[in-house]
Symmetry: C2
Subunit: 410 residues, 2 copies
């Protein structure tokens, strides 16, 4: 039984965290911009990274750490500058961040992961970064407040911090998972342009930990899209320190399945939080494609709808413009028969069928508008050719999205 | 020598046109919504249509006419209602439009093409359509003013009509090409969601006419993107009535090449007009990718940049956020080496290199902002791996785009 509890990344045994402001975000004088996560016992580490050909320095750095099989004790993160498109100088700064962190925490520098988010193309202000690392080490704490400091420090244009913790029982032992992430602009599938950090005290092999994460993101983080752009810095890191005391999970047994359920609760929550907090957005837009012949087709269709600028603008306008949904399905590249498609809108205010077999039903515009005026709106397309389904998450497209992105750097 | 002359679709010999308001666009009381184009001599006809799986009734109807080898004498167009997702009822209305037109013009109903643009999912108000066709026939005229009436009547959210005429000499005869189009929202590549109508008096075989159009749109209409959505109604029709009196073009000879040059002048002009008049846009955004190994790669990269919401918003903000350009290239799916890429911005105010070998140059932000503040801005990415190039056109993303699309139907 997976249960949601109050907490964040410090909820599992052995983890501490903190966050503070060192001044990397210029001209935004109150915003924190550095976070640190530490595990008192070395962790198995898993990671998934952006598929963008242009990879930020921290993505390349972390990939090496994950591939090296080293156990990890700490993650250090900055917001404000992405350390992307920064050449060999940028890579050397990742190494310096890890080294400084290792020194102040008295751990191996091979066991430090780094992450950055913010403006592309600027070099990190390493004097501030090094100072921040030194200031954070003595402030590390295990409370929810400490986790919140970290969750707030990784935000860029996010309007609120995003964190969750869950517990379950594995092999008779209480196992806890905590997570935090930042999203907002530049969020797209494969992977969402986002940073996600998940901690757990479960005992699990590195191989099974990576499998759990890699399998999970297909239906969670990879199904989030805010603006269709996939960033240079997308990163999800998952640490497991084994302090729960369960028998180490080394195969796809009952314990593994229970762990993946708990993990999925965390990643689904965080994915929906990211989608619902897209830049300037006023509504979480969920899209379900039902009864496709293949999973791949359901994914393609649902992503095409959720990323359509026209559909997103219609959701913002509470306009039941189902033609745009059918249109977005049509240019997705997936084959289907438009003349059998049913489309529904659903929210807390009710459910309405607006298209039957490709043609508008005699639905009430008033009722449709009422359903579309909720803060979470679902569009459902039933293509009636098989049994595969997919769910994608995004948000509406608003004036404020444009405003935020027209002068992000200034 | 291709020369641009004053005129539109009535510029070539034998063509007349008109446009008027019959009230299909409700609540927009001054806007024209029907247009007619007529050739006194039957024409060879070529067409290219949307690749969207969901095809509007007029697209299906015209495809049949083009494939039938029938000669065409007239095109009738309405704006306000797209006749898309309208089932068999919608198809029957295309037939009725053609029949009414054939009756009033005393031509074969097999020689009538139809086109619609506007809201998806509504049935056409056939009483108004039939009335409009009857009113238009006696008003057909050959002046530029008559062409302008037609060009205005096909507009939806376009802010101005788009037309051009050119003349050249083929086989010692003066040959004229005229064109008009509508674009604005929902404009994307393959093909741009748009209606384009091109008339010419050249004598050419149907096969060569279709080849000329199909080859041309690859570098013109298909390289336009306003919002990444590809519509159900995209249509480009090209009529040739042979009244110029040249020897009929039946192969890829000198005459054919001269014709394609003249055609390309028309289609490039119209494509840039569509991009520069995207919904709510303030700037034409041109993207050139230079020195790719393959043409396909150059096309993929340039389209990915020109459709990136984040890049488009940065252009609106006159912000030299080149990181977003490199990022958009990175997620395009095309392989390239980000560490050799040079990026430039260019406009009437000058040209500036902002990235060299993947890293920012020491450019002046002030100068970059000046260049980006022009009404036509070009981004150039040199990927230094081959000799293939591509140019794509789009526009910036603005508050007004969102406003227009949030409540298009109301």
């Amino acid at each position: 039984m997976v249960e949601i509890i109050t907490g964040g990344i410090t909820a599992p045994k052995g983890y501490s965290a903190t966050g503070l402001r060192v001044g990397i975000k210029e001209g935004q004088s109150t915003k924190k911009d550095m976070a640190m996560v530490y595990s008192e016992r070395p962790c198995k580490a898993a990671g998934t990274f952006t598929t963008n050909v242009v990879k930020a320095a921290p993505v390349k750095f972390d990939r090496q750490v994950i591939d090296s099989n080293e156990e990890v004790c700490a993650i250090v993160v900055n917001s404000g500058v992405a350390n992307a498109c920064t050449g060999s100088e940028g890579m050397s700064y990742c190494e310096e961040m890890a080294k400084t962190t290792a020194n102040v925490l008295n751990i191996s520098e091979k066991g430090v992961l780094v992450a950055s988010t913010g403006v592309i193309g600027k070099q990190l202000p390493m004097d501030k970064i090094n100072e921040g690392i030194k200031l954070m080490a003595p402030k590390l704490g295990t409370s929810f407040e400490d986790a919140t400091l970290a969750a707030e420090a990784i935000m860029t244009t996010d309007t609120h911090s995003k964190q969750i913790a869950v517990k379950t029982t594995i092999d008779g032992k209480e196992v806890t998972i905590g997570g935090m992430c930042k999203g907002s602009g530049m969020i797209h599938i494969n992977m969402c342009t986002m940073l996600g950090f998940i901690t757990t005290d479960v005992a699990i092999s590195k191989k099974m930990l990576q499998k759990a994460l890699s399998d999970d993101i297909v239906d969670t983080f990879n199904m989030v899209s805010v603006d269709g752009d996939t960033s240079t810095n997308d990163t999800v890191l998952l640490l497991a320190n084994g302090l729960a005391g369960n028998k180490e999970i080394t195969e796809e047994n009952e314990d593994y399945i229970e762990f993946t359920k708990a993990l999925n609760t965390v990643t689904t929550f965080l994915s929906r939080q990211i989608a619902g907090d897209g830049e300037g957005c006023t509504a979480l837009f969920e899209v379900k494609v039902l009864n496709a012949a293949t999973k791949e087709k359901a994914v393609t269709l649902s992503k095409s709808i959720v990323t359509s600028s026209l559909t997103k603008a219609a959701i913002y306008g509470h306009d039941a413009n189902w033609g745009r949904i059918l249109c977005a399905m049509g240019y997705s590249g997936a084959e289907f028969d438009p003349e059998v498609v049913d489309i529904y809108f659903e929210s807390a205010a009710g459910k309405i069928k607006i298209v039957e077999n490709g043609v508008a039903t005699d639905y009430s515009e008033e009722e449709a508008t009422k359903i579309l005026s909720e803060s979470e709106v679902t569009a459902i397309a039933d293509i009636k050719e098989g049994s595969q389904c997919a769910t994608a998450w995004g948000c509406d497209l608003t004036y404020d999205y444009v405003k935020i992105n027209a002068d992000y750097r200034s």
